[in-house]
């Protein structure tokens, strides 16, 4: 947010740094995580719904584990794998010059892992729920498999797809456990939930009240907006 709106404006509006800074990190991280999740989750959901290959259930189960695990467990695994000695940490160092734990990118990864199952399950269900006769119509009309997917399957599944992306965004925006463990509370990785926790921990109840309200309002506004997108005419 501070990238789009000058800080002086935010200060002029009376929005203090202890609100806009974590809010900016929250929105930015959730946005990036959701883009990755929407692309990969929808594509994998499509493959799981339409593909006929062994191990489909195993893939869905593994990808859905974060839904059943406490976020702290996910965070612990990420911390030890991304920050501890091993091939993943070595790859991070090669690619980024440093491990991703306690960085902004680290919390984006944590949010991707946490929100991925929601997008995957919604998209798989939505795509599997499309009446296959419509796809047969597309093929009989001479549409290629790719065009049938683009012009028939995805538009008919759009409500479920949008709902999956909305759920993923909401999950990413609201994540605390995994983000806290991977990002701790270093300034560039302090999201609103972590700032709220810190405010409560240090007894700043007024700040906690404001941060909770901000999180509530932002989540409500974004989810409402995304839900309305699903009702719009498709592409």
């Amino acid at each position: 947010m501070t990238g789009l709106v000058p800080r002086s404006w935010l200060n002029g509006l009376g929005i203090p740094p202890w609100v806009w800074s974590p809010l900016s990190v929250s929105l930015h991280a959730a946005f990036e995580a959701t883009i990755v999740v929407a692309l990969v989750g929808s594509a994998l959901g499509f493959l799981l719904a339409k593909g006929r290959f062994p191990g489909r259930d195993a893939i869905e189960t593994v990808c859905s584990l974060p839904m059943a695990l406490p976020p702290t467990v996910v965070g612990w695994y990420l911390l030890t794998q991304m920050g501890g000695p091993g091939p993943i940490r070595d790859a991070e160092v090669r690619l980024f010059g440093h491990p991703l734990t306690f960085t902004f990118n680290g919390i984006v990864i944590a949010q991707i892992i946490e929100s991925f199952p929601y997008c995957l399950r919604f998209s798989r269900t939505a795509i599997a729920g499309v009446d296959p006769r419509f796809e047969e119509v597309g093929r009989a009309m001479g549409l290629s498999r790719w065009r049938t997917t683009l012009l028939v399957t995805l538009p008919l599944a759009r409500r479920g797809l949008v709902a999956g992306v909305a759920m993923a965004f909401g999950r990413a925006l609201g994540d605390f456990g995994a983000t806290m463990i991977v990002g701790a509370s270093v300034p560039m990785a302090t999201t609103v939930p972590i700032a709220l926790y810190n405010a409560v921990f240090y007894g700043s109840h007024e700040q906690a009240k404001v941060l909770a309200l901000v999180q509530l309002a932002v989540a409500f506004a974004i989810l409402l907006g995304v839900s309305r997108l699903g009702k719009l005419r498709p592409w």
Partner: protein, 239 residues
């Protein structure tokens, strides 16, 4: 003259076994029989939506399925037009767009829509070109579905009980329209029905089905000749 359709196929689905063979000339051929006799399955095999276990299918002399030689032309390359029982128009697209999607012979969007509009005119559906299928009556939807089936310049039109969900008055009106369109477009067609009156009124040839087998074939005699349908096609646009 090359037959419009030559077919000899077998397909087992669960306990049901389809094993049929027939040759159809141009005009309207009707597959007639009770529900569960394998008529719609035959259409799906012709369209390439399902593969037979054994057999061959040739459309206008072109082999599109030959199991022994592992020849299998995909559904989108068979140049088949299809009209389904409930239309199956894409609910998220207008009537015009539904038809335009099926137009194979034009490449640009504007050209495809122009071709689609002309087909909607011919079936008396141009006045609701911009409406979505959800706001159309059953008869209107089937008019659009018929336009969509013919708009792609198909080598063969398949109609799977297109009138069975309509009330009697609309059914009679659409029978005239279908018969008229088949004659004027000269596209050979195969219609599936379990309605004897419909089979008589629409068919030039009736292929009787029962329990997955062909039990008889009959040419329908028409006093006015093959070219003249009973009741000229007269589309009013309102069904």
């Amino acid at each position: 003259m090359t037959p419009a359709l030559e077919l000899a196929v077998a397909r087992q689905i669960g306990e049901f076994e389809l094993d049929v063979a027939f040759t159809l000339e141009s005009g309207m051929s009707v597959l007639f029989g009770p529900s569960g006799a394998g008529k719609s399955l035959t259409l799906a095999l012709i369209a390439g939506l399902i593969r037979p276990d054994v057999g061959t299918i040739a459309i206008n002399g072109h082999v599109v399925t030959d199991c022994a030689r592992r020849t299998y032309v995909t559904a989108q390359k068979r140049r088949i037009g299809m009209v389904f029982q409930d239309g199956l128009l894409l609910p998220h697209r207008s009537a015009l767009d539904n038809v335009a999607l099926a137009v194979r012979q034009a490449s640009g969007r504007r050209e495809r829509r122009a071709v689609a509009r002309s087909w909607l005119e011919r079936v008396g559906a141009v006045e609701f070109a911009d409406r979505r299928p959800g706001s159309l009556s059953g008869g209107q939807r089937q008019r659009v579905a018929l336009a969509r089936g013919l708009a792609g310049d198909p080598a063969l039109l398949l109609l799977d009980e297109p009138l069975s969900a309509l009330d009697s008055e609309v059914r009679h009106e659409l029978r005239k329209l279908i018969r008229g369109m088949i004659i004027s477009s000269r596209v050979p067609a195969v219609l599936v029905t379990h309605d004897a009156e419909e089979a008589e009124e629409l068919g030039d040839v009736i292929v009787a089905y029962n329990h997955g087998r062909v039990t008889g074939t009959r040419v329908v005699e028409r006093p006015e000749g093959r070219g003249a349908p009973p009741g000229a096609p007269e589309s009013t646009g309102q069904v």
